[in-house]
């Protein structure tokens, strides 16, 4: 066991900064997951597979010369369609939340196999011009890809929050989640709304995927590495909420990063999962 070492102030500040960055990605991945779980009653494990598929597509297009951020123009509509199609299939089988977990796990396996057969199990790293830009502010090292991730995560979370809170569509979605038959009796077209939302969730996953490609090394098996911590962020924030996953994600990211700085990197998972256990034990009602 590595002993505690009190890091310097700069190192600590740098840890907090990198915690915020990785936490933003937790939040962005968690956003779509939280929405589909809370509002559609669909626990979509394939969310992570979609994010990685998008990351690999981004990697592929970027290596063919396209600007990584421009690939969003292709990737986002594509994944919107995939998400909507998946949900249409789910709806026709009237699947329970728990079974949706199993079905989407099966789907995750299929996507993982697809990725592995196209891009192999080797690690891939997107080399782009973004990766070369680093900013140094007050002694802190701020890489551009991470800043982009933070900006996208914050912007999208606020946009989703505003839509849910202020638009008729958002109110209809929340009403349907609360009591579907009653909402239908009030003339809400649930099928259309649900497809729209499911598509949006997948599109959000694909944006997170592009951020993944910008900042991280990709491998098919890495799909599973994100599941636990992102679920922790979603549960900590509460289901069906827009800003909460981002806040919870940043909180977890920072506490992980500080733990790594103070002890050893291998202790990091303890923070998020202990937090998850504590939340589930103390407020189990919130998740159902």
């Amino acid at each position: 066991m590595s002993g505690f070492t009190m890091p310097s102030a700069t190192l600590l500040a740098q840890s907090v900064a990198s915690g915020v960055f990785v936490g933003a990605l937790y939040g962005l991945l968690g956003l779509g997951l939280s929405l589909s779980w809370g509002l559609l009653r669909l626990i979509n494990l394939a969310h992570f597979a979609f994010a990685f598929l998008a990351a690999y597509l981004c990697y592929q297009m970027a290596t063919m010369g396209m600007d990584p951020l421009l690939t969003l123009a292709v990737i986002v509509p594509l994944f919107f369609a995939i998400g909507a199609a998946l949900h249409a299939a789910m709806m026709s089988f009237r699947i329970t939340p728990f079974n949706s977990l199993l079905v989407t796990f099966g789907l995750t396996g299929i996507v993982e196999a697809l990725i592995q057969s196209i891009w192999t199990a080797d690690f891939r790293k997107l080399e782009s011009s973004y990766g070369e830009h680093n900013y140094k502010v007050a002694g802190l090292y701020l890489p551009l890809p991470e800043l982009i991730t933070l900006g996208l995560a914050a912007g999208l979370s606020f946009a989703v929050w505003a839509v849910l809170r202020y638009t008729d569509l958002g109110k209809a979605l929340r009403a349907s989640a609360e009591d579907a038959p009653i909402a239908a009796a009030f003339g809400i077209n649930q099928r259309r709304n649900a497809l729209l939302l499911a598509g949006t969730c997948s599109a959000l996953a694909s944006v997170a995927g592009v951020c993944l490609a910008l900042g991280f090394t990709l491998a098919p098996s890495q799909i599973y590495a994100w599941i636990g911590v992102v679920f922790a962020a979603v549960m900590l924030g509460g289901l069906g909420r827009a800003l909460a996953p981002l806040i919870a994600g940043v909180l977890i990211g920072v506490s992980e990063a500080v733990t790594m700085a103070v002890t050893a990197p291998s202790w990091a998972p303890l923070v998020s999962f202990t937090l998850l256990i504590a939340i589930l034990l103390l407020r189990p009602g919130r998740a159902t």
């Binding site: 728990f98 199993l102 079905v103 796990f105 099966g106 592995q116 636990g228 589930l280 034990l281 998740a287």
Partner: protein
């Protein structure tokens, strides 16, 4: 003293729905398991290449893991994603004992089982105490336990981050070759695991676990000690997973946290069990054989990636098209024959034949049976019951009246233990009931019905009633309980529906099933919560006659009802609640004429004269936990 009552034709015909016990010879299944295991023990003597031993080992290994997982998760519906943690605890216990302290391999296995079992009991003792941790929340929580445990192990000297090598550990010579030794060990463990899983599924424990799966609250109120049963199931499940882990440690020869504490183990066992069928003891084994062979054939042919995709496809197809699993589907194909003879009783025993109680009907107006003093219940500051004093005398039918939201159902829920009271006491036969678990209250001799019937959906009508007889009534095993249950089905006129599933009943029959369930534990006090609500007038007449027969056979009845015709006809006394307080008490005809009672029902009269003629509310469904 309980004598199996012999209204005719209760000659037991266990239903086909419950596995194992359905056939005439209840010992055929375990004998078959043991015989198969003995036959398979001769496989190493055939001298097959080591490759086959290893494949067979893996199949048996997964049979143990999937079947042990199923004992808690399949039977109760608490899907654990923490099986990797318990399996991993077994692996690291064995590995550490062998590598660090040079223990002989076989001696490490009981310790591995014990460590995994203790870990499971600790986790369960915490998790099962919190209401609301079910379904996906339980799955996530147990998954998180896996990763926490893995993180701790990788960061402590147990693993140290490099894994544990068992290159120096000796493999005992049980078979002709090392690989056959692993095979024989796994075979023995698998046989034991299957015997345990079968034994539980046909026992009282199994009946309780299956009831928890369908409706945990109702099971507890019927007398199932749900907390203890879940803990027992988890402990057994973990111990078996620990043994599998201990064996697997030496099989792997080199163990790392990264490969042990993953999401793969729990997901694979879930997949196997769901594919095979989680409500049958043999379901997970069927799934384990299928999936292991499938994966192995793909890995062997260098199509590992395609195999992974195929497993995904199979999982999706299984959930969507065979949500009950392969085994139940096959059973349904095979068991097309008229599964059970019609109970001969149906014709012989008139529905009205009240089972003779050992005790003679108690005299009406006798001593106080139940005495509630200052009983109170609040929900987060909302006062549902504000401290009521109610006495129920042995042998009477007490009507419990009041407008919607007056606290009648809350009273029943508190007395039956469904809710914990926030204040006051309940004395029942000089025993304090306030604050004790619902299953103990059921065992003490109180049963209840639910306003909206809550039958166990996957169990036959007969088994629904047998459960109450077994747990509330304290009968030792399902066979005896089914005989007892049959008499109560006849009593309620449901004997022809004994082998139907509750879904096949109409509302009237479901209400009568609730009554039969409430009576099968032979309670001294029955709490009936709006049994008449939603019935047609002629059905109400039947039900009124039935309630009267319930009292006549010796039970005291508390009767919450809005149908005044029935209240007037049945009750010896009524108490009226209003806004959680006791408003009036006395004979029904007199109490209903009191001005304060009429005010409570009909509001403040402007000109009171018009209200006196019919102060009776019609039958209205009462919403929520009024």
């Amino acid at each position: 003293m309980r004598i199996p009552v012999s209204t005719a034709g209760v000659a037991a015909m266990p239903p086909a729905a419950t596995a194992g016990l359905a056939r005439p010879g209840p010992w055929r299944t375990p004998v078959a398991i043991v015989a198969a295991a003995l036959a398979l023990a001769f496989v190493p003597a055939l001298g097959l290449p080591a490759f086959y031993d290893s494949l067979l080992y893996l199949i048996l290994h997964w049979i143990v893991l999937a079947t042990s997982w199923n004992i808690l998760s399949g039977y109760t519906g608490y899907f654990s994603f923490g099986h990797g943690a318990f399996f991993g605890a077994g692996i690291y216990t064995s590995a550490t004992l062998m590598a660090r302290w040079d223990w002989p391999f076989l001696w490490t296995l009981p310790v591995a089982a014990a460590v995994a079992c203790v870990l499971g009991v600790v986790v369960g003792a915490i998790v099962f105490r919190v209401k609301g941790i079910r379904g996906e929340v339980f799955a996530l929580l147990t998954l998180a336990v896996t990763f926490v445990l893995g993180t701790i192990i990788v960061n402590t000297p147990i693993d140290g981050g490099n894994g544990v090598s068992l290159a120096g550990a000796a493999i005992p010579r049980l078979g002709p070759t090392p690989s056959s030794t692993f095979y024989l060990l796994a075979l023995a463990t698998a046989a034991v695991t299957l015997l345990v899983a079968w034994g539980i599924s046909v026992s009282k424990l199994g009946a309780g676990l299956f009831a928890i799966h369908d409706d945990e609250d109702a099971a507890e109120v019927m007398g199932v000690p749900t907390y203890r049963y879940k803990l027992i199931a988890l402990a057994i499940s973990c111990a078996l997973a620990g043994v599998a882990g201990g064996i697997h440690a030496l099989f792997l020869n080199y163990v790392t946290v990264g490969e042990v504490f993953t999401i793969t183990v729990p997901l694979t066992v879930v997949l196997m069990s769901v594919l095979g069928g989680t409500r049958h003891w043999a379901g997970p084994a069927v799934g384990a054989v299928a999936i292991t062979l499938l994966l192995y054939s793909f890995t062997a042919a260098d199509f590992a990636v395609a195999g992974k995709a195929l497993v995904g496809v199979i999982l999706i197809a299984a959930i969507l098209f065979m949500p009950d699993g392969i085994l139940p589907r096959l059973q349904r194909l095979w068991v097309r024959r008229p599964a059970t003879p019609q109970p001969a009783a149906a014709a012989a025993a008139p529905a009205s034949a009240a089972p003779a109680m050992a005790a003679a009907p108690a005299p009406i107006g006798g001593e106080v049976l139940l005495k509630a003093r200052g009983l109170a219940k609040s929900f987060r500051g909302v006062r549902a019951l504000g401290g009521v004093d109610v006495e129920v005398r042995r042998g009477e039918i007490l009507g419990l009246l009041g407008p919607n939201g007056s606290g009648k159902s809350t009273f029943i829920n508190v007395v039956s233990g469904h809710y914990l009271p926030t204040g006051g006491s309940v004395m029942f036969e000089s025993r304090e009931l306030a604050g004790i678990a619902a299953h103990r209250i059921a065992r003490a001799g109180i049963s209840r019905t639910y306003q909206i019937p809550r039958p166990f959906g996957h169990q036959t009508v007969l088994d629904n009633v047998a459960l109450a007889a077994m747990f509330g009534g304290g009968l030792p095993n399902p066979a005896v309980a089914r005989r007892e249950a049959m008499t109560w089905l006849s009593f309620a006129g449901l004997q022809d529906k004994a082998h139907a599933l509750p879904d096949a009943l109409n509302l009237h029959q479901r209400k009568f099933l609730e009554l039969a369930r409430a009576l099968a534990s032979r309670p001294r006090l029955v709490l009936l919560d709006e049994v008449l609500c939603g019935l047609t007038p002629s059905e109400i007449d039947d039900a009124v006659a039935l309630v009267r027969r319930i009292r006549d056979q010796g039970s005291t009845v508390v009767f919450v009802e809005h149908v005044m015709r029935a209240v007037m006809a049945l009750t010896d006394r009524v108490v009226v609640f209003d806004q959680g307080l006791l408003l009036a008490e006395g004979p029904a005809a007199e109490v209903m004429q009191r001005p304060e009672v009429m005010t409570a029902y009909l509001g403040q009269p402007q000109r009171a004269s018009s209200a006196t003629s019919r102060p009776l509310p019609s039958a209205r469904p009462e919403g929520g936990h009024a």
